[in-house]
């Protein structure tokens, strides 16, 4: 696609929860063994009154503070599975709070860990088709609000965060190709039951996240390499042609196994889950920003972004980084 990412910012909530705090609440947890598997030492947690829309606004405001012209924003795609309300659409609230023009399209995308890649695909297609000239893809999640403090699978892994990117028409083929897919047969493996219209007889007062860690791990080990191979095939490139890989920051275990399955050199793989955790759809753009800041990615580099998880849903794409529109 002749579309480029021209700006990228993120926001993490102020409150940081480390593993020592988790151990205080759960003295029976084998914290050292958990940390060895997850690679996560701390995560940011949204305040009780702080929502995904709040964090989306905070991330996007950094873009405007950096010089992005609000008039160029023809759409806001808000990727979130923790919207402020069942309705109205959180993206519309974000459009208003950011003071964006009223002929700006705004909609939510209910996807998790694959959501950033989907957002890039959707936004890029809107620009390429002429529906828009540019816009924002914002990923914002407060999964911690769904987590039982005694859930050993979920609490050590997930954190909250938001990231926002500007997509703009480009003279370069700077985005794509894409490979995306879905397998709803895995829906129950990562789920907040009793959170929508399909409620049980005794719906939970507070929606609670459930994750079958083993099933999700098997899904990632099986599907992610296939997804990456498909992108390489579509782009007629090999792994050696890719300068850098950014994976969804699920956990050390998951990233380790993708690296192993794909036989990737560690120096071409970015990891920043240690003090951020898994921020679902925000994890990829947050990692991308940190990788650029750490000078792991330079202008002109070809980067593969790979997201995967809840749904099941997955997506990968290539991005030619930097260089302006």
């Amino acid at each position: 696609m002749k579309v480029a990412i021209t700006a990228l910012e993120y926001y993490l909530p102020q409150s940081v929860e480390d593993n020592a705090a988790l151990a205080v609440d759960n003295p029976d947890w084998p914290m050292a063994a958990i940390e060895k598997k997850t690679g996560i030492k701390s995560r940011h947690v949204a305040a009780a009154e702080e929502t995904a829309a709040d964090m989306a606004v905070s991330a996007a405001e950094k873009l405007f503070a950096g010089g992005v012209d609000k008039e160029t924003v023809d759409f806001v795609i808000l990727v979130t599975q923790s919207p402020d309300y069942a309705l109205p659409t959180s993206a519309c609230l974000v459009q208003d709070r950011l003071g964006l023009k009223k002929n700006c399209m705004a909609f939510d995308v209910n996807l998790g860990c694959s959501g950033f890649v989907y957002g890039l695909g959707l936004g890029g297609s809107m620009i390429e088709s002429g529906l828009a000239s540019g816009g924002l893809v914002v990923c914002s999640e407060t999964y911690t609000k769904y987590i039982d403090p005694h859930d050993r699978t979920c609490r050590p892994v997930f954190g909250d965060g938001a990231a926002a990117v500007v997509l703009a028409a480009s003279s370069r083929d700077a985005l794509g190709p894409f490979e995306m897919g879905s397998d709803g047969s895995g829906g129950g493996s990562l789920m907040v039951a009793d959170s929508g219209a399909r409620r049980g007889e005794a719906p939970a007062s507070q929606p609670v996240l459930f994750m079958d860690g083993a099933k999700v791990l098997m899904f990632t080990m099986d599907k992610v390499p296939q997804c990456m191979e498909a992108v390489l095939q579509k782009s007629e490139k090999t792994l050696d042609d890719i300068d850098y890989f950014i994976f969804h920051q699920a956990s050390r275990l998951v990233v380790d196994n993708i690296v192993r399955r794909m036989d990737l050199p560690e120096e071409k793989v970015f990891r920043n889950y240690e003090n951020i955790g898994n921020t679902v759809s925000a994890a990829l753009p947050v990692a991308l920003k940190d990788a650029v800041a750490a000078k792991k990615i330079s202008d002109g580099d070809l980067v593969m972004l790979v997201g995967f998880g809840v749904g099941y849903s997955w997506g990968a794409c290539l991005v030619e980084w930097g260089g302006g529109p």
Partner: protein, 81 residues
């Protein structure tokens, strides 16, 4: 992937669980070993996938295989041992 049999699979599980040699036998179940909890099972899945060159990730039933016997049977059914 070298020639794999029951002994090699038991060795893989032993190493994955970080227990002493001889602790895991063909009769061992998850209930028998403290280290074979949910985290331990993740280690087993990863170690088997590694040992069988990525052929284990597609065996969905492996997720609930809570005994050495079940694991061996799944691998045998697929002609991996």
């Amino acid at each position: 992937m070298a020639d794999m049999g029951d002994k090699e699979v038991i060795d893989i599980i032993t190493e994955a669980l970080e227990v002493e040699e001889g602790t895991v036998t063909a009769e061992t179940t998850a209930e028998d070993l403290e280290k074979w909890d949910s985290l331990g099972h993740l280690s087993i899945l990863v170690a088997l996938d590694k040992g069988f060159d990525g052929k284990v990730a597609a065996i969905a039933e492996m997720v609930t295989a809570n005994s050495v016997l079940k694991i061996l049977n799944l691998l045998r059914d697929r002609g991996l041992i």
